[in-house]
């Protein structure tokens, strides 16, 4: 029972009125931005970071987490009703969800998605509750060598698994590492890359970078593409799925929960990949795969369950190892650092109130979201009428004024605009902004643990391979770094030998 005591105490933390209120605010904001195409959860969390300065750490993270998993619920609504995915993680829901809506079963699709999301999210919290302390206790022995290897692997995985050009994502990550070195060197106290500027002497804050690159960069980028005016249906009826629908989708929900949970833990994984993997799996498993794309309930229930399970379980690496598994978790990491909390294996022991408070708040949040997305779905459908043209200047203003309130300095606001330009140009030229922010957050940890471990090893880099865990992690690092090149080389060779055959097939087709 000793194990369960802190878990139960976590509920006491959640039920404090302040925390409940922020949980509600978080999930409502998450739901809203999920419904509105354009801003994603990462951008929203970045823009709202200044809001978290004046509240308790646990309250802040409860709200930010609510935004994250709330967006997974909200993204479904536009996918089903308008065939416009509100979030990247709801893209596959469009295929069957919209077809269901066309057949007059929009309510059923939304209901199945919410129930699946709720089950996936809740199952994932239960998994988190049991797995997180185990991972944390395992990681307690980690020294600087293990942390260097882990941070390197985390950055590499996030950069290479993200969609888009891998080399460009790695370049973004390297740029993030460089930005992290600006300011005073913690070992020698010398200034680096400050160009004589006093404001840069303490280094660049995480918040202006995140607000600029994720927030303003995305706002500017969205100005360019004109969103088709989305005319929302005035009402959606019959959101309660029938027993037949539920039993048809129950397998998909179960498989989606498990799949999403595990994909969420992996660095570079997360909600988007989980939803795609679940859709592919459901289609493969189905007895009549041709039903998919024509309104198969499993095609909605599976991915929606998986993306919620993954959104929840991606907290495990952050809260137990101190390594964010994706860009949104990098923002959570930054938010915790602002509050003076360093996420890591000690967190669950040293600050159980925070740890279990955040974890247990997700139960409450999921219940709130279930209520909002079943009986109240009509209210959120109405939100779709808010036009992007009105939303854009409002979010831009929130960003600028919010940036000012961090330190009451115009320098921060200027930084946000500068990084907004950087973020916009990065998106234009095909560089993922996620790896940059992640690498920036991990940069100082990586450098200091690298230098510490080199001190321990007497300056001998092969020392990393003398410790089993760091050796394994580095071996995986090398494998991940080399594998894509090897694979394309093999594919080329195979194509060269098989060339005559393929041309023949092409001719007959």
């Amino acid at each position: 029972m000793d194990f369960l005591n802190p878990v139960l105490n976590g509920f006491v933390v959640v039920l404090e009125p302040m925390n409940l209120l922020y949980c509600l605010i978080g999930v409502v904001i998450g739901m809203l931005i999920g419904v509105l195409p354009g801003l994603g959860p990462a951008a929203t969390i970045a823009i709202l970071l200044p809001l978290t300065y004046n509240v308790e750490p646990v309250t802040a993270i409860i709200m930010l987490a609510g935004i994250f998993y709330g967006a997974q619920y909200g993204g479904t609504i536009t996918s089903v009703l308008l065939r416009l995915p509100g979030e990247a993680s709801s893209v596959v829901t469009v295929f069957d969800g919209y077809q269901m809506a066309k057949q007059g079963k929009a309510g059923t699709a939304l209901g199945l998605a919410s129930i699946g999301s709720f089950i996936g999210g809740t199952a994932s919290i239960v998994g988190l509750t049991f797995l997180a302390p185990i991972v944390a206790s395992f990681a307690l022995d980690f020294g600087p060598a293990e942390y260097s290897a882990l941070a390197l692997l985390g950055i590499l995985l996030v950069a290479t698994i993200s969609n888009g050009a891998k080399t460009k994502a790695l370049i973004a990550a390297a740029f993030g590492l460089l930005l992290a070195t600006v300011g005073r060197d913690i070992f020698t106290g010398e200034s680096r890359f400050t160009f004589g500027s006093l404001e840069l002497a303490d280094g660049i804050d995480f918040v202006p970078i995140a607000m600029g690159i994720f927030g303003l960069g995305e706002i500017l980028y969205n100005l360019e593409e004109r969103h088709r005016a989305a005319k929302a249906p005035s009402t959606v009826t019959n959101v309660w799925p029938s027993r037949k629908d539920l039993s048809q989708a129950s397998g998909a929900i179960g498989r989606g929960s498990v799949l999403g949970f595990f994909l969420g833990i992996l660095p570079g994984g997360g909600a988007t990949i989980a939803s795609m993997a679940s859709y592919a799996m459901e289609k493969k498993r189905a007895k009549q795969p041709e039903r998919f794309g024509k309104g198969a309930p499993e095609g909605v229930a599976g991915p929606e369950t998986a993306n919620n399970a993954a959104a929840t379980s991606s907290f495990i690496p952050l809260l137990t190892l101190g390594i964010p598994a994706n860009a949104t978790m990098a923002l959570m990491f930054g938010a915790l650092l602002i509050q003076g909390v360093t996420p890591g294996p000690q967190l669950v022991e040293q600050d159980p109130g925070l740890f279990w408070g955040v974890v247990n708040s997700m139960y409450i949040g999921n219940i709130l979201l279930l209520i909002m997305s079943l009986p109240l779905v009509g209210v959120f459908v109405k939100i779709l009428r808010v036009r992007a043209a009105i939303l854009a200047p409002v979010t831009a203003l929130i960003t600028l004024l919010g940036a000012y309130t961090i330190n009451n300095s115009m320098f921060d606001v200027t930084l946000v605009v500068v990084f907004g330009i950087v973020g916009y140009l990065m998106k234009k030229f095909g560089f993922e902004p996620g790896p940059l922010v992640l690498a920036f957050v991990l940069g100082s940890l990586l450098e200091s643990s690298l230098r510490r471990s080199l001190l321990v090893f007497g300056g001998d880099p092969t020392g990393f391979f003398s410790r089993p865990i760091s050796a394994t992690l580095l071996a995986v690092f090398v494998l991940v770094a080399v594998l894509p090149g090897l694979r394309s080389l093999l594919a080329k060779r195979r194509a060269a030998t098989a060339d005559p055959a393929t041309t023949k097939i092409k001719e007959t087709v």
């Binding site: 009703l81 308008l82 065939r83 295929f95 919209y98 809506a101 066309k102 007059g104 929009a106 309510g107 080399t167 790695l170 370049i171 390297a174 740029f175 590492l177 460089l178 060197d185 070992f187 020698t188 010398e190 680096r192 890359f193 303003l216 706002i219 500017l220 100005l223 360019e224 989305a230 005319k231 249906p233 005035s234 009402t235 794309g293 036009r387 992007a388 043209a389 009105i390 854009a392 200047p393 409002v394 831009a396 203003l397 600028l400 004024l401 000012y404 309130t405 115009m410 606001v413 200027t414 605009v417 998106k427 234009k428 030229f429 095909g430 560089f431 450098e447 080199l454 300056g459 001998d460």
Partner: protein, 209 residues
Amino acid sequence: MIRVQETNRTSGGEDGIHSRRSAGQSAPARDTEVLPDSADVLAGPEDDLTPEQLAAQWEEEKPPAAGPLANAASSLVVLGIGVGSLVLSVAMGLGTPEAPQPGLWPFLVSCVMVALALFQLVAGRHNRDAEKFTRMSMAPVTGLVTLAAMVSLMPVIGFELPALVMCIVWMRFLGGETWRSTLLVSAVVVVSFYGIFVLALNTSIPHLF
């Protein structure tokens, strides 16, 4: 398949939404219009897209891809940053692995960056993941100008007037709202921001009134 997509484009999104509206309701009695039926016929080919066709359609709706020049330009910028920081880190002193000087870590990162930039310069020649700057790109540029103006004017005349101008420019000229709703919403937005940041939160944001 190409023909299907062309009909989609001409029929546009609006019709599809109408048909969605009629389909999305199981109790059509109240809201049924004459229009959805005809729209249904029009939107027929669009609605029957398979996932693959839908993905292809999204692909087509993306902004046009930029040519090899964009790749060369971005790689060269990265190369420039990499070489610049390389030089600066060497100037800071590298030291040895057991007694590193401040420049060692930035030096390592810069080396990786230079290598990646060179690789991208050569291997990315045929990639089409960058987007072309089109006439639409004037919108973010205009947006940026208003933001920059706001940042420089805020310390002088407070945030209210620059924010109002920014809202008006973004809604009327970038968003294509009507003058009526632009002026109304802009005023409401600025007043409510004044209420939140100045009156309620009592922050020290420079304000005129």
